[in-house]
Amino acid sequence: MKLFSKKSLGVLVPVLAVVLLLSGCVNQAQTPKTMETIKIGVIAPMSGDAAAYGEQIQRVIDSYLPKLNEDAKVDGKQFQFIYEDGKCGGSEAVSAFQKLKDIDGVKFVIGGACSSETLGIAPLTKDGSVLVTSAFSSNPAIEGASPYTFTFSYSDDVIGKTIAKEMSKYERVALITEQNDWNVGVQKVVLDEFKANYPKVTVVANETYPKGATDMRSVLEKIKKMAPAAILLNPTPGVTAETLVKQMAEIKDWPGTTIFGQYSYISETALAAAPALTNGMIIIDAPKVNNVELTAFIDSVTKEKGPLTDIGNFYTASLLDDVKVVTGLIRELGNDQAAVQKALKQRTFSGYISNNISFKDSSFPGVGGGIYIVKDGKAEYQQ
């Protein structure tokens, strides 16, 4: 029988469909009958430009899982995390969400990581079938997007307003922003704040470069020509942040210019790329998470599985808080997304990111912005 004859077509297509149907039934974890296995979906970028985030998210969760399941044995529950690739985009995140919901039967999803992933799946949660909690997404549009969507990250609103307030001390400012949902969100808030509350500030340059771009020299020359008194560097964390400061350092001569940064420059790796340039940099980020337990955890994950430099200290903390709060509520209230959602809205929680995590009036946990100044390659928390 030829591969593409009529007969074979009649067999091939239904077989393919049946394989798809049945293959969803494989890989069911075998647990003792007395234990209830609770499946939680995780949507994060596992491929593409932001794949480093997905990899590190999995490192954190996989490292935390043994302890979580050990503690949950008491309640007769075991947790299983199922990862799906959101590719840092709304449409892929939707596909991933639907697979988790319909094939894997999850009622809870940790994710998306990127705001576009979370914004993509938020409308699908309005029916209350799945509760979504993101540890990373910070776009202000998430506020009120769905009663069943929350985020443990700070809002770009808070960070943007703090940046604008600090930069308002200078009359001539410049912004250089990577074209990514998070960065553009921050940029918008900063510009709106300047317009609304700091009319004396003149934005002499407002440059945007494509996501993942590797050569920003012409843009930097352009900004330098405008002689701003302050520059906000607004790239995504990781390689782009390092590339930006390195290329700034190659240009040399930024006399009298104060450099501002955000979360991307909290890590020592980014600052070490151009130590002379970044010394004295003012960084606006969430308040420093000073916790011995967290630091020890990060060190052990780094040693055993690999670095967490892209997600950093705060997002590791927010991810752990997200997992702890949600699994804690599931252990108490059962695999019931409605009950857990109600508890999230009514209670206050304590975690690494804050002792006062509350979703009573907001989809955000109410974490504020902090100011850091770089000294000798380290970002020192000021307030």
Binding site: S47, G48, D49, A51, A52, E55, Q179, A205, N206, E207, T208, Y209, P210, G212, A213, T214, D215, M216, R217, S218, V219, E221, K222, K225, M226, G238, V239, T240, E242, T243, K246, Q247, A249, E250, I251, K252, A272, A273, A274, D310
Partner: protein, 293 residues
């Protein structure tokens, strides 16, 4: 000085595109296939260099290893595309080449991860002329690019090898009957193309960052340059590569104030420039009209 600096930066980027457009032209000339995998090939070779350096091998062994990788990738491309070139199945060749590019990109992502790598953890050393500066990899790219462009221009137009390349895509059976080995010509072209692409990959990523997907954008620009310049004219391809890169870079770099154009608009400008040039000269910048009978 500002204008000159922008021009200098743009020339480096333009030369990177030229250095990829030249092998693209050579492969097209020999097989009529658009070898879109050249971008990913270049980045794979750059990863080979990175691997050698981070493994602590000396420079001579690392360079040899990198060269061998480039040759192997060239031979792999030959193995995949030869049959299709012989049968003149150019559309399939384009798809196979594109798939090979995806395959190489995914392989690099699996082996090295998607987080970017730097050859140098510090800012690059620069060469300064008065107020102008140029990074060392950028300077090497410029010099080598100009030399290679002239060399290949001469090779393809003045030497028997150049004539063989053009002949093999026109009628490889006739060429074979004249006791030339058509397959050997195509294999040589693909290996040479891989080596040049590897050099471009190394220099581009040295100048910025090494990520698996870095080859795609540059190969698209090279592809545009090849078609704008004329698929039968290397001179036109080189000129087009500079035009297609320089104009958008200068527009972005020199615009300011309320008329400032951000780098994010670059591809839109490239498209408009390509559209204008193609409308003005549909057969290529330096091509003459052919009589259609």
């Amino acid at each position: 000085m500002f204008f000159l600096q922008i021009l200098l930066n743009s020339l480096v980027v333009g030369t990177q595109v030229v250095l990829l457009a030249v092998p693209l032209y050579l492969v097209y000339a020999a097989s009529k296939i658009y070898h879109l995998a050249l971008g990913a090939t270049g980045i794979s070779v750059a990863y080979a260099l990175y691997f050698g350096l981070t493994s602590g091998w000396g420079w001579p062994i690392t360079i040899l290893f990198t060269l061998i990788c480039a040759i192997v990738l060239g031979l792999l491309s030959f193995a995949l595309l030869e049959k299709l070139a012989k049968k003149k199945e150019h559309l399939f060749g384009l798809l196979v080449s594109f798939s090979l590019g995806l395959c190489l990109e995914a392989s690099m992502a699996l082996m090295f991860g998607t987080d970017g790598k730097f050859f140098l953890s510090t800012p690059l050393p620069t060469i300064n002329f008065s107020e102008l500066y140029l990074t060392v990899p950028g300077a090497i790219t410029l010099v080598v690019g100009i030399v290679l462009s002239i060399l290949f221009l001469l090779l393809t137009t003045q030497t028997p090898w150049g004539r063989e390349i053009k002949a093999v895509s026109e009628n490889s059976y006739l060429l074979s009957s004249l006791s030339f080995n058509a397959s050997l010509v195509r294999a040589t072209v693909l290996v040479v193309a891989s080596v040049i692409a590897g050099f471009v990959g190394i220099m581009t990523t040295f100048n910025s960052t090494l990520v698996p997907g870095a080859g795609f954008n540059i190969v698209v620009l090279a592809f545009i340059a090849l078609l704008v310049g004329g698929v039968h004219s290397l001179k036109g391809t080189i000129v087009a590569a500079y035009l297609v890169v320089l104009i958008p870079e200068l527009v972005v770099g020199l615009s300011s104030g309320s008329y400032s154009v951000s780098l994010s608009w670059k591809m839109v400008i490239v498209f408009i420039v390509a559209a204008i040039l193609l409308t003005w000269k549909p057969n290529g910048l330096l091509e003459r009209r052919e009589r259609v009978e």
